[in-house]
C-alpha cells in the first residue's frame, strides 16, 4: 500500500490562542482520528506535532550549495505547517477520505505521496 504524508496547515495565531481545555479537546479529536484511520484499514506510520514557526530556522540553497541560514520557516504564510501524519493506505481516494477526517478548525491538509521505488524511474 502506498504511503502519504498529511501536512496539517493551519493558522498558528489561532492555535496559540487556544485555552487549556481547547487543547485537551484537540488532542482528543486527533486520538479519535487515529482510531478511525485504523478502523478503515489504513495505518498511521508516523507523524508529529511541530513547534510553532517562530522556532523554525531555514538553511537555504543555491546552485547546490548551502548559502545561508535564516530565521523562520521556508515559506512565510498565514497558514503554517503545524504537524504531519504519515499514513499507509489503499490509494489516493482513501487518503483524501481520511484527510477529510483530520480535525482542523481552518486551514487545510495537503496530501502528498511518499516517494517509493516506483517513483524514481
Amino acid at each position: 500500500m502506498p504511503e502519504y504524508v498529511f501536512l496539517l496547515l493551519g493558522d498558528e495565531a489561532q492555535d496559540e490562542a487556544l485555552s487549556p481545555q481547547e487543547w485537551e479537546e484537540a488532542f482528543a479529536a486527533h486520538g479519535a482520528f487515529s482510531e478511525e484511520v485504523a478502523r478503515r484499514g489504513a495505518e498511521i506510520t508516523g507523524g508529529q506535532a511541530l513547534m510553532p514557526t517562530s522556532t523554525a530556522t531555514t538553511v537555504r540553497f543555491e546552485g547546490g550549495e548551502a548559502v545561508g541560514v535564516t530565521d523562520g520557516p521556508f515559506v512565510e504564510l498565514k497558514e503554517a505547517l503545524g504537524g504531519f501524519y504519515v499514513i499507509r493506505c489503499r490509494d489516493l481516494d482513501q487518503a483524501l477520505e481520511l484527510a477529510r477526517l483530520v480535525p482542523m478548525g481552518s486551514g487545510g491538509v495537503e496530501v502528498r505521496p511518499v516517494m517509493g521505488e516506483d517513483h524514481r524511474g
Binding site: 489503499r90 490509494d91 483524501l96 505521496p113
Partner: protein, 487 residues
Amino acid sequence: MAGSGAVGSGAVGSGAVAPGAGDDARRAQAARALLVAAHREHWGTVLAAVARTVGGPLGGDLGIAEEATQDAFVQALEAWPRDGAPERPAAWLTTVARRRALDRVRRDAVLRRRLPLLAVEADRAAHAPHGPGGADGSGGAYGSGGAAGAADDGVPDERLALVLACCHPALAPEGRVALTLRMVCGLSTAEVARAFLVSEPTMAARLTRAKRKVAAAGVPLRVPPPPELAARLPTVLDVVHLAATAGHTASTGDALRRDDLAARALDLARVLAVLVPRDPEVLGLLALLVLTEARAPARTDAQGVPVPLEQQDRALWDAGLTAEGLRHLGTARRALGRRRPGRHLLQAEVAAVHARAASYAATDWQRLLLLHDALCATWPSPVVRLARAAAVGLARGPEQGLAALDAVAGDERLRSYPYLPAARGEMLRRLGRREEAAAELRRALALQPSAAERRGLERRLAALGAPEAPRRDGGPGGSGVSGGGER
C-alpha cells in the same frame, strides 16, 4: 509519443484501392474500415484493460498502457489487411496490447519486482471464459447506445474506472479533459492540442503532467462505491460537457475537427449512460448532446456561417436523433422522481423546448424562461445569467429583455464575451433602434469572435443596413444566446 496519431488521424482509412483490384484488395479495404471503427469504439476499453494489467493494485501506469494500445493498433494496421480482420476485434487488440505492455514491463527494471504477479494475472486473463481480459469482441456494447451484454463481462466497469481516473479532482481541470480525450477516446496528442488551441508540445506536457500525477499520487483505476461515485460524477459530466462545448463552439477554422470532438463527447455520454444507468444528470447530459447533435445540420450554412435558430430550416434537423434525445429526457425525468433537476437535465429541457416546437414562432417561450430561471438557481454562472436575460427578451419582449441584459452586463467576466453585445444588438434591432443595434454588433465584432461567428455577425450587420421598416411587433426573436444548447 512520436507517431501517436498514426491510427487516429485517418492514416488507416486512406488505403485507397485501385479500380479493378481483386479480392485481396477488397478484403484489405474492409479490414481497414473495421479498424477505423474499432479505434473509435474500443480504444478506451483496450487501454483500460491494459492499464489494469500493468498497474498493479492501483492500475495507474497510463503511459505504458497508452503506448501498448497504440502499438496494438499499429500492429492491426499491418495484420488485418493481410490476414483478414479478426472475429472479435476488441479481444484481438486487448491481447496484443497486453502482451506489448508486459514486454515493456519486463524490460523495465523499476517494475521488475511486480513481474511474478503480472505473469499470473496475464495467464488468468488469457484463459478467462470471455476471452482475453473479458474484452468482448461483439462491439455492440460500446456502439451507438447499445447496452446489451455490456453489464456481464466486467469491461464497462474498467472503462468507467478509466474515465473516473482521468476526471479525478486531484488533476488540474484542463488536464482532466485532455487526458479523457486522449486516454478514453483515443484522440492523438496533436488532435487534443488542436481542439484546445494550444501547441502540440504544450499539450504533450500537460498530458505528461496529468499522467505522472495519476501514477505518482496513486489515483486509483477503480469504480468507487455508489456514494463516492455519485460525488465524482459531476466532475465527469463537466468534462464531457466541456468536450462537447469545445466541439460545438466554432473556435477554429477547422470545421472537421470540431465535429469530431463533438462526436467523441457524444460517444462518451452514451457510454456513461450505459455504465451509470438511471442517473438523471447522466441521462440529461446525453439528451442534451443528442438533441444538439440533431440540430447540427441546420446550425451552419454551406459556407460554415452559423445560422441563428430563428432562421434554421427545421426540416434539416435529424428527426431520429430528436426522438432519441426526447426519449432519454423522458427516462431522465422518471429517474429524477421528485428531486430537483440538475443543470444538465435543465439544459436538456431547454433543448427539448426547441426540439418540440414546430416552428420558431411556435416556441414555448414562457416555459423556456421558467427553465432558465431554474438553471440560474442551480448554476448561476455569468453565461447562464446572460442566457436567462435573453430568454426574458423572448418571453416578455425586447424592452424587458434589454433591461435584463443590462442587469447582468456589469459582470466583469462578461466584459470580453461577444454574446453580450450581440444579444443587446438583437433586442435593439427588434425595438427598431437600428443605429444602436449596429453599434452593438460592431462591439461584438471588436471582441474577436471566431471566424465563423464573425461572418454571422457581419451578415446581421449587413441586414441591418437593408432598407426595411422597423418591426413593431416586439415579438420574440433569435438572439444567438438563448438557443439553449446552441453553444
